[in-house]
């Protein structure tokens, strides 16, 4: 099974640049690159999907800036899963015959803003009952999941470090990655403590960046003579909570539901997935998500990662770009899970290329609150 809708082009704005950068500029750069990659003109776009914390009414601003007048607008925002959900919405609109060519975009200049003002634009605010407990939102929320996980499964803190170490191994292979040096457990523990058990090197980077996807029907792609397309085999979304008081289980997430749904839609299971890209805002994230998606039994993913199975040369290459921990993290990483999946499936991943016919991307928003799982095939 698949949706007969494809990703036909991708664009990425660089993570690093010396000049002052505006969110609209990095988004436009990624969008223009994506249309060129798909062999279309900007005016061919008739649907726009975007999410960013740094532009008011972003679909309108981006459409005008790109000089286009789309007839389908979607600025769905639920954190880092948003751009994956946009894919689901684009598939539905294309299959319903409402649109032909969708542009999905994300961009942020968190690093520029941090340097200029000392603060960075928040993509979400703590629920009031959490804010009054004086946490380091959202880090504390994920730290609570990590503490519970280590306690519940009686596993060592080294398993959290293993996630950042694996990310650094992939980052070393990606010339676009912000962090290219290899990390060790000792270096992670030597970085400043943030919220126990997390140190700063358990937390994602703060960068600029933007990404864009051009999505259309398989038929349309064929008519344009596009050879290197990636098929969207499944998309599934869920939310089970916003804040931590309502999260049902701190060591099991909504990815249980999105994974099961996505694999059912696609007609294949975890064993047939060649590479996974999981939103790694913090080191605990890929551990919980690998278990919930069915790649590991509960309590086992930390050891799986520490044993090297997700590192270069491992049997389940994960976060091959370096992820949010080593490659880039401009506020929300969701679109990069798709971009890297597409790069791997098209054989365009350079030194970090792995053999892949199927890929899984997983986005997370809020404090493990929204989940979106996407399966892609070639």
């Amino acid at each position: 099974m698949s949706t007969s809708v494809v990703i036909a082009g991708t664009g990425v704005a660089p993570t690093r640049a010396d000049e002052h950068r505006d969110t609209m500029d990095v988004m436009a750069q990624a969008c223009i690159e994506a249309t060129r990659d798909a062999g279309i003109q900007l005016r061919d776009i008739d649907a726009i999907f975007t999410a960013t914390a740094q532009v008011a009414l972003p679909t309108l601003a981006l459409a005008e800036y790109l000089g286009i007048t789309p007839r389908y607008l979607d600025s769905t925002v639920h954190g880092g899963a948003s751009n994956l959900s946009h894919l689901q919405h684009a598939v539905a609109a294309i299959n319903a015959g409402q649109i032909e060519v969708a542009l999905i975009a994300y961009g942020s200049t968190q690093r520029t803003a941090l340097k200029a003002t000392g603060t960075r634009p928040m993509v979400a605010a703590a629920p009031p009952l959490e804010a009054m407990a004086n946490p380091r939102y959202p880090i504390t929320s994920y730290a609570l999941m990590a503490s519970r996980y280590l306690h519940q499964w009686e596993v060592p803190r080294e398993y959290l470090s293993a996630v950042a170490i694996a990310a650094s191994r992939w980052g070393a292979l990606n010339p676009a990655a912000q962090r290219r040096e290899l990390l060790s457990h000792e270096e992670i523990l030597a970085s400043p403590a943030v919220a126990e058990p997390f140190h700063t090197l358990d937390c994602c980077l703060i960068t600029d960046g933007a990404g864009a996807l051009v999505v259309m029907s398989q038929q349309k792609a064929k008519s344009l003579g596009l050879a290197q397309t990636v098929t969207i085999a499944a998309v599934a979304d869920v939310t089970e909570h916003d804040g931590m008081m309502a999260m049902p289980d701190l060591t099991s997430t909504g990815a249980r539901l999105t994974g099961a749904s996505a694999f059912e839609q696609a007609g294949f299971g975890p064993n047939e997935v060649n590479t996974v890209q999981i939103y790694d805002a913090f080191t605990i994230n890929p551990i919980l998500i690998l278990e919930d998606l069915g790649f590991c039994d509960r309590g086992q993913a930390g050891r799986f990662i520490a044993d090297g199975h997700t590192s270069p040369g491992g049997k389940l290459p994960m976060n091959t770009s370096g992820g949010g921990l080593a490659y880039t993290h401009p506020g929300m990483f969701g679109i990069y899970t798709i971009l890297e999946s597409v790069a791997q499936l098209r054989g365009r991943a350079g030194q970090r290329q792995v053999p892949a016919k199927t890929a899984l991307a997983h986005g997370i928003g809020g404090t493990m609150s929204s989940h979106s799982t996407v399966l892609l095939t070639v």
Partner: protein, 131 residues
């Protein structure tokens, strides 16, 4: 989430020295945080139940250097699987561990600049119970 009317009620009662949790009048579910409808049965017929001195245990904890500890706690009175998130106040909070017994209490809010909550206002919090 915004500072909605249910949160304002909850915090107003705490500021007056009274600890309450939301309780469903249809199915008797007691849950956190306060909301517009019962998460167990869906009704909007909701009231409040007194929970002063409620006993619980630490489900997870994160210590913040020099800034106190934040804990997520299980309380028997919360009969729907939801938990209480709060600052762990009083002696021993920097050494507290998962599984330790705690009690619901009132403590002064340490955060400034919040909507509808002043610094120093009494808010629901958690303290360790001496064995």
């Amino acid at each position: 989430m915004n500072m909605n009317k249910h949160l304002r009620h909850y915090l107003g009662r705490a500021a007056a020295g009274e600890l309450v949790f939301p309780r469903c009048e249809e199915c008797a579910a007691v849950f956190m945080p306060p909301r517009a409808a019962c998460p167990a049965c869906g009704t909007d017929a909701l009231g409040w139940t007194p929970v002063g001195g409620a006993q619980g245990t630490i489900y997870s904890i994160s210590r913040h250097s020099n800034e106190g500890s934040v804990a997520l706690c299980e309380f028997e009175v919360l009969n729907t699987g939801t938990r209480f998130y709060g600052q762990l106040v009083g002696p021993g909070n920097q050494q507290a561990q998962i599984g330790q017994p705690v009690e619901l209490t009132l403590a002064e809010c340490t955060v400034s600049g919040m909507d509808a909550v002043d610094q120093g206002q009494l808010i629901p919090s958690i303290k360790l119970v001496e064995n």
